[in-house]
């Protein structure tokens, strides 16, 4: 299996890597670029822990080939805070205890950010359905929904 050379942009930085043709973007991010904030919970698109943005679309990076990243813009959890400035979602997740073990948190934050960019004023039901592909086993989702809404309110006010 011959490896492929890929030029892409990750969190705004021009990035090059080589990967096997059957290697997922998630594996590339984690094993080749050492961006381990994206997690593998299932490898089949059923848990959302590997959520990233590819060209402005929310996707599971386990369902994208690394090779497909050629020329694309990838955004991961590692790019969400600007230096020490947390994104309002990140801050509200901490303040609202919306995480316990934290393994699903990066994926949920990436997904929630995508939601609020599309819909700055969602209902609870809209948040719940948007995040249905992000499994969390610790929180029962209650505090996650509240934290997303608190962040949304702050972002609308800003």
């Amino acid at each position: 299996m011959k490896n492929i050379h890929v030029s892409t942009t990750v969190n705004g930085d021009p990035t090059e890597f080589i990967c096997a043709p059957d290697e997922s973007l998630l594996d590339v991010l984690r094993d080749r670029l050492r961006l381990t904030g994206s997690k593998e919970g299932c490898g089949s698109g059923d848990c959302g822990a590997c959520s990233v943005m590819v060209d402005g679309r929310l996707v599971c990076s386990c369902l994208v080939l690394g090779a497909e990243a050629e020329g694309a813009k990838i955004e991961t959890i590692e790019g969400m805070a600007k230096g020490d400035d947390l994104h309002p979602l990140q801050q509200h997740f901490i303040d609202g205890a919306a995480l316990q073990c934290g393994i699903c948190t990066p994926g949920i934050l990436v997904a929630a950010k995508a939601l609020l960019e599309k819909n700055p004023n969602p209902t609870d039901t809209e948040v719940r359905y948007w995040l249905a592909g992000n499994l969390c086993r610790c929180t029962g989702y209650d505090k996650i929904i509240k934290a997303v809404q608190a962040a949304a309110a702050e972002m609308r006010g800003a």
Partner: protein
């Protein structure tokens, strides 16, 4: 250590909601979990697993795999010794099958290779010759005398006639005259129930990184609830001294009991030893389902007698739990906890642990209790319906309270059940109107909680800040709670304290993070360690003031002279004492090592409204409220989080989650798609009401809270469904086909 003499003390920090110390790492993706570590020259480990439920291993030929370029080690059970100790041998045999495979997914060989592609290719080159044996996966079938024997030699002492050797333990609890009790009843309900095996469903699969040098020293990075336990078991299996194996707990992506044992760790260490290189081993999700430790499935008979006015006269339960391919120890907790919420004159529970060809069960949040209490609370609810009684009134009438001789033997001290029931009764949820096809259900829940072996060290830095070193992986925010307790005791602010989870070399033994023990036991040890440090700090201040150490006391972060007779000194701050510590005798620390007791039992009550679609059998949970006694809620957000998370796991158990086995004994749904844990859109808000009835066994009154919340949802949901459809449900999960079938049977 008992509740502080000044039991009614006010707290400055306990009960507030400061941000967690691991928060920023976790929201930025920096936190390091089991699969996130790397090492120079690291290999990838993969495991070959049995496709059969039960088979004899006739031969394993690994030569082709070994010959494959890029493969650095291949191991089978032959690479391990045979431990003398039963427990260690069972754990090892579960990690790598010897002679027989006992379940679909049982490991038979493992490889370490330069990358995943080569490792997967190597697995395909391993030839295993199996002789397929008959299998059994159902608990009732496995108890029958003609059932296939899963493992010979484990039958219980004095196995009753007519029972299979698969029955490994029998337990019986209770007191009083059963016949007389039932004779007094106006109404007796007797019913049988089943629950499916469910999985803890942590989102992080098991993962570790093992290194073994030629000098026999080992390093293990692993996601686990108990790295000291991992060290002990792995050292035993690999024939190492405990001191030579250092285990570091990674951040842990959920456990719920499922990470209290080992599955891949000894395999990774053996591969590292054989290859001479670091080996990372990560389960995929399918492996997690097939080969980690789900909870038991159960079959239960319950019989309860009640008077017209709602007094329970006698209660009986027989519980049969299958715990998979090795002897398990779960049914005793079911048999003990089944009737814990009730004050009974006549009660008896009988439990049987049974082996089947399924993965060996591991603990799952209040292990053994949810299935038992589900059956009991269902029958209590049915009696209330039959007798036209309010289900909360009946529970209040029969509630266990201080002085009640519990169904499992001991007499209860201060417990919060009555207050919890009263809170539920007074809550607007209980009086809210219900619409068509809607039902309301409730259930009590109980868990014992415990303490256990715990070590904490508190180091005072020269700038007056404090480092706490403890040895229990943080699965729900415990580093925050421990820092809070340290800050409270020292009288300093929360942000002056940092708590870390140490590796196995840095502290003495710490028991696993389980039994809802950490906030209780580690908190208790932290308070004691802080008090020891305070004693030293007071002595240092006394030295400086040149007065007697007894004449100094500690308050709000300052050493103070205890009265005018002691001398007129300005209070000395922790910063001043810390800064001068090199001059007054050296660094200051406090530590405490204890096997903590007195955890205090925990009760909860859950209330649910739901609607059943009469045409499809689909259930929608509309409203959910959790009431629980937390003793003292150290960080109320995390207490609520435990209550909410446990409730939702229980909701999943009640409605959709199950291990589905085919006729061939293979697991049909080893993935998150078809295992169906609840998603965000399945649920309403989970409201919480925390009650605080102080635990007399803790200086701040803390009780464990983590496990109890998974107990009540099973019956609460089942009772609500049963009331909604007008038919008593008796099998979990209540998936839509099951409910629709019941509705059809009603006509």
């Amino acid at each position: 250590m008992a509740l502080d003499e000044n039991g009614k003390r006010t707290f400055n920090i306990i009960g507030t909601r400061p941000p967690r110390p691991d928060g920023i790492d976790k929201v930025t993706g920096r936190a390091m979990y089991g699969a996130d570590a790397t090492a120079p020259g690291m290999l990838t480990g993969h495991i070959l697993r049995s496709p059969h439920a039960h088979a004899k291993i006739k031969s394993i030929d690994t030569s082709a795999a070994e010959a494959l370029s890029g493969v650095k080690a291949v191991i089978t059970s032959a690479d391990f010794g045979v431990p003398e100790d039963d427990y260690t041998r069972d754990v090892q045999d579960n990690c790598m099958a010897r002679e027989k495979v006992l379940y679909d997914g049982h490991a038979v060989a493992a490889v370490a290779a330069i990358n995943a592609g080569v490792a997967k290719q190597a697995l395909k080159l391993i030839k295993v010759e199996y002789e397929i044996l008959p299998h059994v996966t159902d608990v009732d079938a496995a108890m029958k005398p003609d059932a296939p024997i899963v493992l010979a030699g484990y039958a219980m002492d004095g196995l009753p006639k007519g029972m299979s050797e698969n029955v490994t333990h029998h337990f019986e609890f209770g007191h009083g005259d059963m016949d007389a009790g039932f004779a007094k009843a106006d109404k007796i309900v007797e019913r049988s129930f089943t629950t499916a095996a469910t999985h803890q469903g942590y989102i992080e699969p098991h993962a570790c990184l093992a290194t073994m040098g030629g000098d026999g020293k080992g390093e293990l990075w692993v996601c686990t609830q108990g790295h000291y336990h991992v060290r002990g078991v792995c050292a035993d299996i690999l024939g190492m001294d405990a001191s030579q194996l250092r285990v570091t707990a990674s951040e842990i992506g959920g456990g719920f009991g499922g990470k209290t044992t080992v599955f891949i760790e000894p395999v990774a260490l053996a591969l590292a030893r054989k290859s001479g290189r670091p080996v990372k081993l990560v389960m995929n999700r399918e492996e997690v389902f097939r080969a980690s430790g789900p909870t038991v499935s159960s079959s239960t008979d319950v019989k309860i007698g009640m008077t017209k006015d709602g007094r329970i006269t006698a209660a009986h339960a027989t519980l049969r739990y299958q715990g998979g391919a090795f002897p398990s120890g779960t049914v005793q907790f079911g048999a003990q906890s089944a009737f814990a919420a009730y004050d009974l004159d006549a009660v008896q529970t009988i439990g049987w642990n049974v082996m089947t060809n399924r993965p060996k069960e591991a603990a799952y949040r209040a292990p053994g209790a949810p299935m038992a209490i589900y059956a009991v609370e269902s029958v209590v609810d049915e009696l209330c319906q039959e007798l036209g009684l309010d289900p909360l009134d009946v529970r209040l009438k029969n509630a266990a309270r201080k002085g009640t001789k519990s169904a499992y033997g001991p007499t209860f001290d201060d417990i919060g059940l009555e207050a919890t029931l009263e809170a539920a009764k007074a809550h607007p949820h209980y009086a809210a109107p219900l619409g068509p096809n809607q039902g309301r259900g409730l259930s009590c829940g109980f868990w014992f909680n415990f303490g256990g072996n715990t070590c904490v060290t508190m180091n005072l830095n020269f700038d007056g800040t404090v480092g706490i070193t403890e040895g229990n992986p943080d699965i729900g925010g415990s580093r925050a709670s421990i820092s809070m307790m340290a800050a409270e005791e020292l009288g300093i602010s929360y942000d002056k304290v940092r708590t870390i989870v140490a590796d196995t070399n840095s502290l003495g033994h710490n028991d696993i993070t389980d039994g809802s023990r950490v906030t209780f036991a580690v908190g208790l040890a932290t308070i004691k360690a802080a008090r020891e440090a305070i004693k030293v700090m007071c002595a240092r201040a006394a030295k400086i003031w040149d007065i007697d150490a007894d004449a100094v006391y500690w308050e709000d972060g300052f050493a103070k002279p205890s009265g005018p007779n002691a001398g007129a000194f300005e209070p000395m701050s922790i910063e001043e004492i810390a800064a001068s510590s090199p001059n007054t005798g050296g660094p200051i620390a406090g530590h405490h090592e204890v096997n903590a007791d007195g955890a205090g039992v925990s009760f909860g009550v859950h209330l649910v409204d739901l609607e059943v679609d009469p045409e499809t059998g689909a259930t929608t949970v509309l409203r959910y409220t959790v009431f629980q006694d937390a003793g003292k809620a150290v960080h109320p957000d995390y207490v609520e989080g435990q209550m909410q998370g446990g409730a939702v796991q229980g909701i999943g158990w009640a409605l959709n989650e199950e291990y589905i086995y085919g006729q061939d004994g293979r697991l049909q749904n080893p993935g998150l798609l078809d295992y169906r844990i609840p998603v965000a859109s399945d649920l309403p808000d989970i409201d919480t009401v925390i009650l605080e009835i102080p635990n007399p066994g803790h200086p701040y009154g803390v009780r464990g809270v983590g496990e109890t919340p998974i107990v009540p949802p099973l019956a609460a949901i089942s009772n609500a469904v049963s009331r909604s459809i007008g038919l008593r449900m008796s099998a979990l999960p209540m998936s839509p086909p099951k409910i629709l079938k019941a509705l059809k049977s009603k006509g």
